[in-house]
Amino acid sequence: MHETAVAQSLVEMISQEAQSRHARPIRAKMSCGELNAINDEVLSFAFEAVAQGTPCEGMRLQIEHKPLQAKCKTCGRDFVVDLSNVKCPSCGGGDFELLPDAPLLLEQIELEGTDDGES
């Protein structure tokens, strides 16, 4: 349930961004790596709960998973890692190095004006 801490941080960041622009957040896009162990359902639920009573209440959160990549030490290729069975799809080798996992990133927010009633 570390998703709650992630949701808390997202709500704070989005609220701050929206308030500084005097606008209301409608939608946000975030991305995460495989090793962040983010469960979409849990994060969406936590986000909805934490957003109550904040400028983020009722907005939508889109979660994108960036694949984890590795470099094969045998044939030198980069490949997408399947954590349940890690091996190079080109040469079948098991000698590889994991490449840095994507961080938890707040990518984009869609805002709707509140000052002038524009939508």
Partner: protein
Amino acid sequence: MERVDVGKKVLSANEAYALKNRQLLARYGTPCFNIISSPGSGKTTILVRTITDLAGALRIGVIEGDIQTDIDAQRIRAAKAPAVQINTEGACHLSAAQVNRGLTELPLDGLDMVLVENVGNLVCPSAFELGENGKIVVLSVPEGDDKPAKYPAIFAKSRVLLVNKMDLLRGGAQVDFDLERVKTDARRLNQGIEIFPVSAKTGEGMQDWYDWLTAQARA
């Protein structure tokens, strides 16, 4: 409608504290390791035995993370090492800010190493950097040999895997646990991981772990 590209790390507040911790520890030349496992794997027992056996050789300070109680910090203090208890009040992991508070309460100038015992949980703590020099994952025999396959993130990120309660495989108990499977699955995710099969109860295998730990303090 306005689209704003933010591109900010969601856990940047935590990372800022992790950097602070890293700088603080570097100032004292004190390495720090983050110990992560399921509840009941024997993290505290490992710590108590390590502190006792290395008394006079390695001065260890401990930050204990638990949802509630200071039972663990009391066990560490009984082993004559300084310990700070952090209660997360329901949170499933320690944050870098909490560890920062712990570090300021430890006598860092009299320590060779800080060991952080995270909240018992094999998933959440792996997502929060604390400013440590490395993660140490503990897996105990009764939990089963399928854990590296089922919880890959923590095994992929750790520098050391301690396989604890090895004595259960010797005592004629009915335990199905294939150590070779654990080693193969963990190394499939993380080739550099050091694996020490130990029993914090009998002391089996602990010397290899002590040698590794002592080498880190001298590095």
